[in-house]
């Protein structure tokens, strides 16, 4: 099947700094792909290049059959984009702003946009300048979801939303994907990407982390055991219980163990039978948490 989005060697530098290294990427039709990475990893630049907002230094991009040429107008006719920045025309009402967004997209897009605003509970006739951060975010998402296009690129569409609103947006996105739309979204909410996306991509220092490295990280996470104690356990007790059985790292009352296999039972038995070690207050094992994965890939502390 022909991919909905095909990126080949897209790259961009600013001054001497390479913001996005040559990147290859394919998105299958009707899929929801999450793009993860710390601030400055190049997520927004990659997305902007894909729709012609930032001219790439090299490479090509095809979206729904339209090749990225010139200023990318042909691509932008087949894709909608919600920027990460919340800059809007504050003097316009939500209704007029939606009309502004949908200019050139047809009447159906405007009707759907207004319907989405109503569904999300946004006041149509209030000036956008009086909107809260979350309401502005919802307006941007609604504007990007309104037109009938095959691909949507959303830069942090749930940033600043409360959990229930975030859930509403994710439901909308899943509904779109069910209708065959391809969505690429970036996010810092690792849980929502883990829960909602068909595929997760990691961007680190302007380069996509290769699948093998990401899979290796996932496998390591599957062997991770975390124990939380009421107080800080003594190193001697930990040494006595775990010995060579697992790699141990202690952070106060939190003990991280990397087990030799994905079977935790031998270690759990030792904990249960250890006379000197207090009982842990919580045990987490092998959850495919993207938070853990994030820490594995980016070298940050898992939370």
């Amino acid at each position: 099947m022909r991919p909905a989005v095909a990126v080949r060697g897209l790259t961009r530098s600013f001054g001497g700094h390479i913001a996005v290294h040559p990147t290859d990427l394919e998105l299958a039709p009707g899929t929801l792909t999450g793009l993860l990475g710390p601030n400055g990893a190049g997520k927004s630049t990659l997305m902007r290049m894909m729709i012609g907002l930032v001219p790439p230094d090299a490479g090509s991009c095809t979206v729904a059959g339209a090749e990225l040429r010139g200023d990318g107008t042909a691509v932008r006719r087949r894709v909608t984009y919600a920027p990460g920045e919340l800059a809007l025309y504050g003097e316009l009402t939500a209704r007029r702003h939606m009309a502004w967004f949908q200019r050139g997209r047809g009447r159906d897009a405007l009707a759907r946009g207004l319907e989405l605003l109503r569904r999300l509970g946004l006041p149509l006739d209030r000036r956008v300048g009086a909107f809260s951060h979350g309401m502005k975010r919802l307006l941007l998402v609604a504007a990007a979801l309104a037109p009938d296009v095959p691909v949507r690129i959303l830069d942090e569409p749930t940033e600043g939303l409360d959990p229930s609103r975030r859930g509403e947006v994710l439901d909308l996105l899943r509904g779109e994907v069910a209708r065959g739309t391809t969505i690429l979204l970036s996010s810092h909410h690792l849980g929502e990407v883990e829960e909602g996306c068909d595929r997760v991509l990691f961007l680190r220092e302007g380069a996509l982390v290769d699948t093998d490295a990401a899979d290796a990280a996932r496998r390591r996470v599957r062997r991770a055991l975390r124990l939380r104690f009421a107080g800080e356990p003594s190193p001697a007790d930990l040494e006595e219980v775990f010995g060579n059985l697992a790699k141990v790292r202690v952070e106060g009352s939190l003990v991280h163990l990397l087990l030799p296999s994905e079977d935790p039972r031998p270690v759990l038995e030792r904990i249960a039978n250890a006379p000197t070690l207090p009982m842990p207050t919580s045990v987490r094992f092998g959850e495919l948490s993207l938070t853990d994965l994030y820490g594995e890939i980016y070298g940050t502390e898992a939370v």
Binding site: R48, I51, L53, V54, P55, G70, D71, T73, R76, R77, Y81, P83, E85, A87, L88, Y89, E91, L92, W100, F101, R103, G104, R105, L140
Partner: protein, 253 residues
């Protein structure tokens, strides 16, 4: 749209000011003639001003109106309007952070730029053209005759002159992110050029030489625009727009 409202209100305000200045100037014409001797005395220390009075002496009411309306009114107020209208076109969007949503719409950058360019151009050209169209009626009110043709040709010449300043400010706007800095920079430069014009011996080095009383009197006498000067100014306008287009193509949101 904020920019549309700004342009409409700005254009209306510009027209009202120009018209008020024009009405006052034309109604003052009879007293001006009566007091020409005294005015000459006041102007004597400034040779350029004396030269203007000579032009009015020989050119009559049209030279006076050209000095008051085109050279003084339009070239100062029009320059400010052109600079302000152009400055917000792209730099204004960048400044408020809305450039990204503007560029993300399914329109080519060429079209976005053309729409913005034309909107600003119309916003400063209309007040100049409309106020100039009232010159014959106002002149008749003080017993003078000025042809519509001369008034409108003068207005067209002034508009093309202002379009050069507008084009320059527009070009800078496509590269900048602070519209106030762009507008002030262009206005201060224009004031400097205007000041140069008032210095004897330096007048010919000022761009305002292209829109001074002798130029308008010449247009009135010829009954047409100066072809070479008009073509040159239009060429500069076109080049500035082309440069703005190239600059905007590479503009990052």
């Amino acid at each position: 749209m904020g920019r549309s409202r700004t342009l409409i209100l700005g254009s209306l305000g510009c027209f009202l000011l120009l018209e008020a200045m024009l009405v006052a100037a034309i109604l003052f014409w009879p007293q001006f003639l009566d007091n020409m001797g005294m005015v000459r005395t006041f102007a004597k220390p400034i040779p350029v001003l004396s030269g203007m009075l000579d032009e009015i002496d020989t050119g009559g009411v049209f030279a006076y109106i050209a000095g008051q309306h085109f050279f003084k009114g339009c070239s100062t107020l029009g320059t400010a309007a052109a600079a302000l209208f152009a400055a917000g076109a792209v730099a204004g969007e960048a400044n408020r952070g809305t450039l990204e949503i503007l560029l993300a719409r399914p329109q080519s950058r060429a079209r976005i730029l053309a729409e913005r360019y034309l909107a600003g151009l119309v916003a400063f050209a209309l007040p100049v053209l409309l106020s100039s169209a009232t010159i014959p009626a106002l002149a008749a009110h003080v017993g003078e005759s000025v042809s519509y043709r001369a008034s409108l040709l003068g207005a067209v010449h002034e508009t093309i002159f202002l379009a050069v300043i507008y084009g320059l400010a527009f070009l800078i706007s496509t590269r900048a992110s602070h519209p106030i800095s762009v507008a002030l920079g262009v206005i201060f430069t224009s004031v400097f050029c205007f000041a140069i014009y008032m210095v004897k011996g330096l007048s010919s080095y000022s761009p305002f030489r292209l829109a001074d009383i002798p130029e308008f009197v010449e247009i009135q006498h010829a009954g047409r625009l100066d072809p070479s000067l008009t073509a040159s100014m239009l060429a500069v306008v076109a080049l500035l727009y082309l440069a703005a287009h190239l600059s905007f193509r590479k503009r990052l949101p």
